[in-house]
């Protein structure tokens, strides 16, 4: 039944009708009516951030760890522009998000009014869709449509720009019966004939590999169950992109580790030499493929993706299947079962033997030390000491992110939050706040670098305010390590501006925030201090002082193919990349 209410009240009512429990936001002149409506209810909890970028990453962490849509509320002008990085991040990593921005009143639009910016213009290319709502009559429809667009098909961020007069205006609100859209109709059910053809190819393969990605996580937990099922039925090896970690258990014998630029030797070699590649919810991104013309030259490729435009974009495939990977995997399991109930152990034995030889290279090994904390060792210990707990990991961007992906192991989906596509430094700390808001009793750890973490450090204050005991585990190498590594690779070791000078004292900083600070410089003390961190009921900044000039290996250097990896025992990495590779990122 339709009810009379103001535009601002409609916003809250729509959030309630969409089962939104938490929103992340920051007030300002152009959203005051919505903040007033928030004040007068208690169904939706508002978490006040310290910078709008923080709100967007919190919403991303919230979304990725729950499977729900993240919601952000910011004011016009600088509020909206501060949110842009998080929108671009959510677009590249396919994270469902609705971002409500205030706008100057409609009569003032275009007049360069105070705190006016062209929000829909600025965010058009970094959202899945956006709306400027000029009349209160359109508001209920747009609010619900935004959630539909953000969460269906390939998820993504949607902006709703609401002028202040529309927030004040009275109109009638009714909850629309959603579930479809006149033009936006993503194809979720994969073509059965194509799935049968895929199973035919899988039954004949002798050197197969399942290459999975973030789409399996986005599809929902059932997709991870189906993935495990098809892996068990077929006996195929499994690798995953950075975004897909956790969909397949790292504890399985069939797990090859992550693939791509900093992936394992066995995963990349298996990709290169396979005869059948089954890509599930991944997009042949350049971090994965390496040099395109050297990418897996002798394989047939099956590509399952909900977004038709991902297919044949970077790599030409033999068998595309457009659909939700959960649906397609379920059908694949069913059809496989109808053909055989034997895993093809015999036929795959040669392949597994070969994989075993690649594994023996031990591409993730590193030189141990008793004097200094090796960053890889720190992650290993963090993993060992937390693996029995209900743990969620977020990261910043850099070497520490890759070491976390390599040395922390995930057995469940939705446990790993990282900025993959955009590579946004400053993502991890606010993302951890968002995760903790959704999972109050869980152990939420941001594996951070000392440079990245300073980009959104102020959100510690948010964590303290809301009693969200996030743990920020800083691998402090006093370097922008990943930049330093590339300068060693490409620029003759001229370390231009890639060091962290005048670092704050993170322990004092933690105390200043009202959080708990811990520093560790001695490997012998690491375990005890990690336990101290875990057992603290406060937010913690952990300053873990690690080797300064460690390189993150193995690595596929830019412009090289999968079988041309740099392995950990390479002493001089400065002469590997040729001129062509240097222009790549």
């Amino acid at each position: 039944m339709a009810q009379q209410m103001t535009g601002a009240e409609m916003v809250i009512q729509a959030l309630v009708d969409q089962d939104v429990e938490h929103i992340f936001g920051y007030p300002g002149g152009a959203v005051l009516p919505i903040y007033d409506a928030i004040f007068q209810q208690d169904k939706v909890e508002h978490i006040l951030v310290r910078h709008e970028q923080g709100a967007t990453h919190m919403a991303e962490g919230y979304a990725r760890s729950t499977g729900k849509c993240g919601v952000v509320l910011v004011t016009s002008g600088p509020g909206a522009t501060n949110a842009v990085t998080g929108l671009a991040d959510a677009l590249l990593d396919s994270i469902p998000m609705v971002c409500i921005t205030g706008q100057v009143p409609t009569p003032l639009i275009g007049s360069d009014a105070f705190q006016e910016c062209d929000t829909v213009g600025i965010t058009r290319n970094c959202t899945k869709h956006n709306y400027l709502v000029k009349s209160v009559e359109d508001l209920p429809r747009v609010l619900h449509e935004a959630f539909y667009v953000a969460t269906s098909g390939r998820p993504g961020p949607v902006v709703i720009d609401i002028p202040k007069d529309v927030q004040f205006a009275l109109g009638s609100y009714a909850k629309p019966n959603n579930g479809s859209h006149p033009t936006y109709k993503p194809q979720t059910e994969g073509d059965l004939e194509a799935i049968k053809m895929a199973v035919d190819l899988m039954l004949k393969a002798e050197k197969p590999i399942l290459y999975t990605g973030g789409g399996v996580i986005n599809s929902g937990p059932e997709a991870s169950v189906e993935l495990r099922e098809i892996a068990e039925l077929t006996g195929f090896p499994v690798t995953s992109t950075l975004m897909g970690l956790g969909a397949f258990p790292a504890s399985s014998d069939q797990w090859l580790g992550m693939l791509g630029m900093h992936g394992t030797y066995e995963a990349n070699m298996a990709m290169h030499d396979c005869d059948l590649m089954i890509c599930v919810g991944a997009r042949f991104d350049d971090r994965i493929t390496g040099r395109i013309d050297g990418f897996s030259p002798n394989s047939k490729k099956i590509h399952i993706d909900i977004d038709p435009s991902s297919i044949n974009k970077n790599i030409a495939v033999d068998l595309p299947i457009v659909g939700d990977c959960g649906f397609v995997l379920e059908e694949m399991v069913r059809i496989w079962r109808s053909r055989t109930n034997q895993p093809r152990t015999e036929a795959l034995s040669g392949w597994w033997k070969q994989i075993g030889e690649w594994r023996d290279v031990k591409s993730l090994q590193y030189a141990k030390s008793e004097k200094v904390i090796k960053p890889q060792y720190a992650i290993e210990r963090l993993y060992e000491l937390t693996k029995e707990r209900d743990v969620y990991i977020t990261t910043e961007v850099g070497q520490h992110q890759m070491w976390a992906a390599q040395h922390f192991h995930f057995n469940e989906p939705n446990r790993w939050m990282t900025s993959g596509g955009l590579g946004t430094m400053g993502y991890g700390l606010p993302a951890a706040v968002g995760v903790q808001a959704a999972h109050r009793d869980a152990l939420v750890i941001d594996i951070a670098g000392e440079a990245s973490v300073q980009m959104t450090m102020q959100e510690m204050s948010t964590a303290v305010q809301y009693g969200l005991p996030i743990k920020v585990f800083i691998l402090n190498n006093e370097r922008m390590g990943m930049v330093r590594q590339w300068q060693e690779l490409l620029h003759g070791g001229r370390y231009s501006s890639s060091y962290s000078e005048s670092l704050p004292d993170f322990v004092k900083m933690a105390e200043a925030f009202g959080a708990h600070g811990i520093r560790c410089e001695d490997p012998a003390e690491l375990d005890d201090k990690i336990l101290e961190m875990i057992n603290s009921d406060k937010p913690v900044l952990f300053d873990c002082c690690v080797t300064k000039d460690e390189n993150c290996l193995p690595m596929i250097p830019s412009g090289k193919a999968h079988h041309e990896m740099i392995l950990p025992d390479t002493a001089d990495i400065g002469n590997i990349i040729d001129e062509k590779g240097k222009v790549l990122v």
């Binding site: 829909v120 058009r124 400027l132 033009t183 977004d307 297919i311 044949n312 033999d318 068998l319």
Partner: protein, 177 residues
Amino acid sequence: MFKPSWDLERNQLVERHTLTVLVDNEPGVLARVVGLFSARGFNIDSLTVSETEHDRHRSRITIVTVATPKVLLQIKLQLERLVPVHRVHDLTAEGKALERELALVKVAGKGENRVETLRLAEAFRANVVDASIDSFVFEITGRPNKVEQFISLMQPLGLVEVVRTGLTAISRGKEGM
């Protein structure tokens, strides 16, 4: 049923294609379409747009683009991803479509040139839509190369300026989009 995409990879020659796009005529829809082309480095040779179904607020956009077959496919798929886009058809790929363009051509001159100008206009079925003692404005409709040819013939006869609508196109036969 599944065309192997290797063909797409192999053929690196660019082709000129005409796409027709049915969209909801909502604010910003044109910016969305054009922004997609510039953001992804696709090329637009010509673009026309107008509302064609007023009661349903729908517009047809005609885009001429030059790209390799692989990129052409990407353009179509990327356009289809936009929320207000109903459908995209590649008219060039679907067979011979009707393609037309309109130009207004201003020519100034006297004496012999003026007579020649009129004779050519008649041959090209260009209409005189404005005339003064020493000038004409012609309206010419046709396939782009016909318009092109007419304009180049006017060049030595006193061509002052030209405006063109860009190409608009529709498929042949009884099927609609």
